[in-house]
């Protein structure tokens, strides 16, 4: 995994990185796009399916939360390690590519090590898959 799928403006940020950081990384311009909408997000949520017992437990606890603060704490205490790929992709699908783009752009401004680029690559691969699935779905 040494390819970054970056939008043109993101590539400009990558190009400004020191050469030693950029070495070994390939950039493919992300050409897919998806204009998300509230209606589409809600419909994606309509088809949201999870199977991991850990996530189901989280949902049960979330429904019982007595306050916004309690739910916020629950969210912040939950990690997604060991959650299966299919459920993770369900979450990404519900989320859509836009929040990922914001994270990617923030990450690009804070790259200081090769491991940061590995993290970035993971997110751009996932975003690319989301865009591939959604590109014809703009509403």
């Amino acid at each position: 995994m040494n390819t970054l799928y970056l939008f043109a403006d993101e590539k400009q940020l990558f190009d400004k990185l020191p050469n030693e950081l950029k070495e070994g990384w390939q950039v493919e311009e992300e050409t897919l796009s998806f204009e998300d909408s509230d209606v589409h997000r809600k419909m994606r949520m309509r088809f949201f399916r999870i199977h991991d017992p850990k996530l189901e437990t989280f949902c049960d606890q979330a429904k019982k939360a007595d306050s916004v603060e309690e739910l916020a704490n629950l969210v912040q205490e939950t990690d997604l390690s060991a959650v299966n790929d299919a459920d993770l992709m369900e979450l990404f699908f519900v989320l859509g590519p836009e929040p990922l783009t914001l994270v990617i752009q923030n990450l690009l401004n804070e790259i200081s090590a090769d491991s940061d680029l590995e993290d970035l690559a993971a997110l751009t691969v996932i975003r690319n898959s989301l865009l591939t699935s959604l590109q014809k779905q703009s509403v």
Partner: protein, 268 residues
């Protein structure tokens, strides 16, 4: 609990319609009920156990408004039509319009073939519905069903993409990488768990009026630009057709002013 069990689009309407319909049936004479509904009054009363049963009766009563007013002078046909045909989630509306149980509609909505069946069924019923409610317009429901098909197809593309020989290995490594994210990039995990919190409530529950406050509390307001922006990116409610006159992007009213929780860290 901060979650409400009923979507915001139908506050009180179904209950009013149901109680009004029960009252009408109870007050109508046996012969009138038999003539209008084709069954004995005792049978009808006995069968009105579930909302969809009551809705079917409400629908059958339309067109007999003069008779209904003899037992319920305040009866408002227009209001009844609106409550029957224009309000509620896509599943609720289809249930009423097509005369099938909401659970059955939900089940059909889960598959491409089921949605196509609903589309056909809706087309087949449209002229009859328009006789009862000339202002009925199926376009919004049809658009909702079309969007449901698009989303199912998109999920199918995503699943195939994940398993494709070109992508499978890369996706596997990308998702593996995520397991190291919680400490290093808490915002990514938080985004996903927030999506889970929203999606997990898709059984008909929603975060009533507090969604923006919640997103701000988990620290997403910063990365998503504002609490309002955060709310737009991860909406808490299920898809429902818009209110009459509300347009496709009609939204529930915003929450009270969010209070950011300090010290929730840097965006990573």
């Amino acid at each position: 609990m901060i979650f409400a069990a009923t979507p915001p689009e139908t506050p009180g309407n179904t209950t009013r319609l149901e109680s009004s319909t029960r009252e009408i049936v109870n007050k109508l004479g046996d012969e009138d009920v038999q003539r209008i509904l084709g069954r004995t009054k005792a049978d009808i009363v006995n069968d009105m156990q579930h909302p969809e049963d009551v809705h079917r009766v409400s629908r059958s009563l339309l067109g007999h408004e003069d008779l209904i007013r003899t037992v319920q002078p305040e009866f408002d046909g227009e209001q009844t039509r609106r409550e029957l045909f224009d309000v509620g989630s896509i599943e609720q509306r289809l249930s009423i319009l097509l005369g099938i149980k909401e659970q059955e509609v939900q089940s059909q909505m889960d598959t491409l073939q089921g949605i196509k069946n609903l589309q056909e069924h809706l087309k087949g019923q449209e002229s009859e519905i328009k006789e009862l409610d000339p202002s009925f317009n199926s376009a919004e429901l049809e658009e909702g069903l079309k969007l449901a098909i698009e989303v199912i197809e998109a999920k199918d593309v995503l699943a195939k993409d994940m398993k494709s020989p070109e992508k499978a290995g890369v996706m596997r490594r990308a998702l593996d990488k995520l397991t190291s994210f919680p400490k290093k990039h808490p915002i990514v995990t938080t985004l996903l768990v927030a999506a889970l919190a929203a999606g997990g409530m898709a059984g008909g529950l929603y975060l009533a009026g507090n969604w923006e406050l919640f997103l701000t509390n988990v620290g997403l307001g910063k990365i998503l630009g504002s609490a309002e922006g955060a709310g737009e990116m991860i909406p808490p409610t299920l898809y429902t057709p818009p209110h009459p006159g509300g347009g496709m992007l009609d939204m529930p009213p915003p929450s009270s002013s969010p209070t950011p929780q300090p010290g929730l860290g840097t965006i990573t």
